[in-house]
Amino acid sequence: MSARRAGLADRDGFLAWVMLLPSVIYILALVGVPFLLAVAFAFSDVTTGDPSYDFVGFGNFTAVFDDGVFWRSLWNTLLFTGCSMVLIVVFGKILANLLIADFHGKWLVRFLILLPWTTPVALSTISWLWFLDSIYSPVDWTLRHLGLIDQNVVWLGDPNTAMLSVILVQTWRLTPLAAVIVMAGLVAIPRDIDEAARIDGAGFWRRMFEVTIPLSLPVIAVAALFGAIMTFTDMTVSYVLTRGGPTHATDVLASWAYFRGIEGGDVGQGAAIALFLFPILLAGVVAILRAVRRLEAR
């Protein structure tokens, strides 16, 4: 008789919990707890030298807001994120077209397109450090031999070119991800529709802007969202490439929080700066997800 009774494994509700539990624990332990700690630290005077907890209210925030570097890095973060996101989406769309195209040797092209994404960030950024070196830069060497410049551009030494370099490296790094996401959207468009447009006499550009892009817009928005979030919270590229310099020209919120909180030892202020990422990120995510839902409902 007992063999006939429904076992624990037959109860969907129970099973669902068991299956979800590892990821719930993982997220709570590695995202939830640190987040709460950051909130707690932001209202304390904890430093690396004096870890005892004393509540200081909004003291850290006033100190942070009074600091010009904070506003500079906030502006840098927005500029860095905005420019990178646009470039990532545009290049992602172009590469996605290459990924779905059918030609000889496409496996090699696909491999090369995905390479930047699979290389560890620190490693690829160090290669870029050499690429953009003030003396030995192969980029400058090429440009010089093409007669485009007279002497080396000091990419990372000038505030403007330093920002440009950070944006370009970030774009280079995240474009493959966007390309794969957009590719999924392009593949999902029924082939009939593209063929109907061909027969209706639409050329390449008309098909692209009137058929392909409108139909894959929700997916493009998702690619933009990923690009934005991963850029907004990223400090690796600017940390490895410029250490936030020259004179904070490429400091972003994440790197400034790190310099303040960990290298500078003022954990409280570091947490306060890092916490500032949260509402902006939240607003961005909500806005984009809303846009996606509106598009899907059409």
């Binding site: 529709i193 063929e195 109907a196 027969i199 006499g201 639409a202 139909l215």
Partner: protein, 356 residues
């Protein structure tokens, strides 16, 4: 009104997977097709799935490149030309409406692509919408339409640019059975009204018979027969056409090196066939079906050739009593017999069948 012609058309697809293993595996979707549709003609391509009919249509449209042979529209070879300069309009099986555009925008899309002025676009779209009675739907999106309405929108979109040829790829297969009959009737009247050369692909013989001026029967990439519905039905060129067309299909009885064919509706109880020119045979009745008034009699015939299972279709007007399990004398009017070569399957000269 333009002509469309294909000459010695061959289209092969190669299987990628097998090729890598060193076994070249190419599928000949079209294997030397010669076919022509005259000006204003309604030509139906009929065949089982995988016979190459859709590939043929897509090759004419320019969506596929022929491996060999030529496609001619209005006497011009259009082989290398992209679809947009071929002046063709196509209605897809799925209709392929642009889901993000309104019905109006869907219809004017081909006109915008050819950069027609705004007022022309407007006028032609209204005209096409009027012809297909979809004016009230112009502001809607495709997902707000029923299957039949989508089909009309697809037709209107095809119609606005005065195409040289209409290509229709199973446009009725997504409709439910009831809608299909009305839509078929509308399609035919519509084509007669505008008089554009039309090539229509279907696997449904009722559609083919009802719509086509001529029917081209395809099988495995080859044209088996081209002819009017009456020719294709009454004078099939080979056993494939004989058994593919007709429901139930033509009965084939082997007699020596010939196959003797006759339609189920011509196999009738001997007493209802005029005596002067008839071939009689004994039918061992096995089973009967009663379908929309007609009686379908399943049984084995002897006396004509090898004993063979055949089907007889007795019209509702005939009330000869037939009992399953018992033999009954049946007959076919001699003029209704068709002879095929038993090995090749092609039509063969008649052989005398001794009458009693």
């Amino acid at each position: 009104m333009k002509t469309v012609e294909v000459r010695a058309l061959v289209k092969t697809f190669d299987g990628h997977l097998r090729k890598r293993r060193g076994k070249a595996d190419t599928v000949r979707a079209l294997d030397g097709v010669d076919l022509a549709a005259g000006p204003g003609e309604y030509l139906v391509l009929l065949g089982p799935s995988g016979c190459g009919k859709t590939t043929l249509l897509r090759t004419i449209a320019g969506l596929e490149r022929p491996t060999e042979g030529e496609v001619l529209i209005d006497g011009q070879v259009v082989n290398g030309l992209p679809p947009r300069v071929r002046q063709i309009a196509m209605v897809f099986q799925s209709y392929a409406l642009y889901p993000h555009k309104t019905v109006m925008d869907n219809i004017v899309f081909p006109l915008r692509a050819e950069k027609a002025p705004k007022e022309t676009r407007e006028r032609k779209a209204r005209w096409a919408a009027g012809l297909l009675e979809i004016e009230p739907l112009l502001g809607r999106k495709p997902r707000q339409l029923s299957g039949g309405e989508r089909q009309r929108v697809a037709l209107a979109r095809a119609l606005v640019r005065d195409p040289a040829v209409f290509l229709l790829d199973e446009p009725l297969s997504n409709l439910d059975a009831k809608m299909r009959a009305t839509a078929r009737d509308e399609l035919k009247r519509f084509q007669q009204q505008i008089g554009t050369t039309t090539i229509y692909v279907t696997h449904d013989q009722a559609e083919a018979m009802g719509l086509g001026d001529r029917i081209a029967v395809l099988e495995r990439g080859r044209v088996r027969q081209v002819g009017t519905p009456v020719e294709v039905y009454d004078d099939p060129a080979d056993t494939f056409v004989a058994t593919f067309i007709g429901s139930p299909p033509m009965n084939l009885v082997r007699r020596g090196d010939r196959l003797v064919g006759f339609r189920p509706e011509h196999l009738l109880p001997a007493e209802s066939v005029p005596q002067d020119a008839r071939i009689t045979m004994t039918l061992q009745v096995e089973r009967m079906e009663y379908l929309s008034g007609d009686r379908h009699v399943y049984g084995t015939v002897t006396g004509l050739g090898d004993a063979t299972r055949v089907i007889a279709r007795l019209p509702a007007t005939l009330d000869t009593p037939i009992t399953p399990g018992e033999p009954h004398e049946f007959a076919v009017p001699a003029g209704r017999l068709r002879f095929f070569d038993a090995d090749a399957g092609t039509r063969a000269p008649a052989v005398p069948i001794g009458d009693r």
